[in-house]
Subunit: 364 residues, 2 copies
């Protein structure tokens, strides 16, 4: 254990996980190196926190008090009302649909068909989704659409599952679906309350913005994001309906990882190996959040510059640190955890690796 | 002028531009902020150097002694032998072709046709290009190809103009074209010599890697990259053939900016406004290099994390700092210099801006 990472044996007040003394490398230490030939060509700095449901900081790098937007990484928390309200039972939602509610899916035909079928169950269509439309992330699916002259619908939006979850809750509770993405709508106000409870933080007056799909995204510290996931991972102290919802959501993600992301996606590839040991979720601008239910831990990480390639390498090291992925599995997931970079001709030209600060402390 | 940026009134030894005391924000200070709502969501750190042909550092941020790969930003320097050797005259190359030799083009039909026509002049075809093939950067061109079932050739590679320039020099000088991308080939060895002369640095034993298109990329300090461009900008002390080549290359870039990049690309949009006041060139992993010929200055900037959006904002501020772009032009180029971020539905959700350290010192 070196001076730059911290393990805390004493509990902190539950609602206030916090970082310690100034780090030599600043509030976002360099955790990822991008090599080309025999030179580090680029670097990614990050903040990361792993906490338990009591707010104890088990491991951290950088200033975990810094406020960030959780972006799509926060979707598992945003799925809570869908289950807790009884909407999931009323519409007989399967684990696939609950996984889709937590997804940033790749817009493959299977994702889009599942979203449209689910919309049918609640008596709505893709026209009720208030996210924009975009071509699928999955390139072969995008190419197929272009070749066939097919334009994307809102159901193709990577967030369409989350939006369908919001609509399901609204319809189930008798709320007008229109405007469900607005901060003032009951759907969003309910979510603000859930985030405050789960993450142990007051969201009055904090910075907020609009996410890629139109819903509000709310800023609060990295450590409190991790706390929200820790409470999902270890929900025994929560009210029974909430606790059951948390477990059902994480299990659905672990059981149906393809519905959380898609073919060749990091979240999917990882969860296919880790099973119920981990539920992980990527977000735009270099965020990952998730839970290690067997350890009762939640985590959040943010790349300072917002780059996803850096976030994946930090995420991979967290999985190694906590032995969620063992050495054999790490070998199997090598291209995800320690990617080799290839050029247009397919020649290996570099690699993305954990920086010494992250690498030297793993596994612990 | 604050403590974090430096203007040097005394000349340094020509071959050794260097940075001064440690900066409070480390060797790559935060120069760009990415805002969403009322929070800075992500940050980009950068090193930048502006120097004259005597190696005097006119302006710098961060540790300009740090070695980087110039990547595609170095193409104007790599085009020197094409002109200096007489190949450009022998094959009657126009400014369009010389601009293409410096290009990371978008693979639009006009780029690809020009490359193929040029290959014809030297008796070769796209099969002689040793870069890989990839779909055009310009999305409408890519979509058209997909719709038409057309697969990309090597001429579509964004570096195909540079490769055609290399081949032209080899053919003109009677060198076997095969293997021209290898470090040991005369084409590449000639370039190593030119970089050493222009950038005033010994490249023996320095780190090197393979670029996206297969050619060697060689690491040396940010400041020396800037010096190479300064010598192109102010070549009066160079041998006449070299000086003429430098001027012809920069003028070609300024006169034919669409051939340097393409439709809606930053380099093109900027040079269409600046004319011969600036020749700028983007490179992978967050690099820009270029020249302000009327001021006799060269520059190089590198985003620590390799992100292009950060590089464009720093580039834009350099242009403002040196009044290459005036206030009216800045307004016209607003979306390039200070981009507004929109989500999938087209709603404005954020912006990318110069950080205070960069902004406060501009213009000076």
């Amino acid at each position: 254990m070196n001076d730059h990472s911290h393990t805390h044996d004493h509990p902190h007040p539950r609602a206030q996980p916090h970082a310690h003394a100034d780090l030599p490398q600043g509030d976002s230490p360099i955790l990822v190196e991008v090599w080309r030939g025999n030179l580090v060509e680029s670097r990614h700095r990050a903040i990361a926190a792993v906490v338990d449901a009591h707010g104890r900081v088990v491991k951290s790098w950088g200033d975990i008090d810094r406020p960030i937007y959780g972006r799509s990484s926060i979707k598992p928390l945003l799925a809570i009302p869908l289950v807790e309200s009884g909407a999931a039972d009323r519409y007989s939602l399967s684990e696939k649909e609950i996984a889709l509610a937590c997804a940033s899916h790749s817009g493959e035909p299977g994702h889009v068909e599942a979203v449209n079928a689910w919309l049918g169950k609640i008596g709505l269509t893709a026209d009720n989704l208030e996210c924009g439309a975009h071509y699928p992330y999955y390139e072969p699916a995008m190419h197929d659409m272009l070749r066939g002259g097919v334009t994307p619908t809102r159901a193709h939006n990577n967030c369409s599952g989350k939006h369908t979850g919001f609509l399901s809750t609204a319809v189930h509770l008798g709320e007008a679906p229109k405007g469900y993405i607005q901060y003032e709508h009951k759907v969003q106000q309910r979510l603000v309350g859930i985030l405050e409870q789960m993450c142990g933080t007051d969201l009055t007056g904090v910075p907020r913005g609009i996410d890629g799909c139109g819903i509000p995204t709310i800023a609060f510290p990295v450590g409190h994001h991790a706390l929200g996931m820790a409470q999902m991972a270890d929900p025994h102290h929560l009210p029974p309906a909430r606790a059951a919802a948390c477990s059902r959501i994480l299990t659905a993600m672990s059981h149906e990882p393809w519905y959380v992301a898609g073919t060749t996606r990091f979240c999917t590839d990882i969860m296919q190996v880790t099973g119920t040991k981990a539920a992980i979720k990527t977000g735009a601008e270099g965020v990952y959040m998730g839970a290690f239910p067997e350890l009762g831990l939640g985590f959040c990480l943010k790349i300072e510059d917002g780059n996803g390639r850096g976030a994946e390498v930090v995420m991979g090291q967290l999985l190694r640190h906590f032995d969620i992925i063992d050495a054999d599995q790490a070998e199997q997931l090598k291209q995800s955890l320690n990617p080799t970079l290839k050029n247009w001709a397919g020649t290996a030209v570099g690699k993305i690796t954990p920086a010494p600060l992250l690498h030297e402390t793993a596994p612990f």
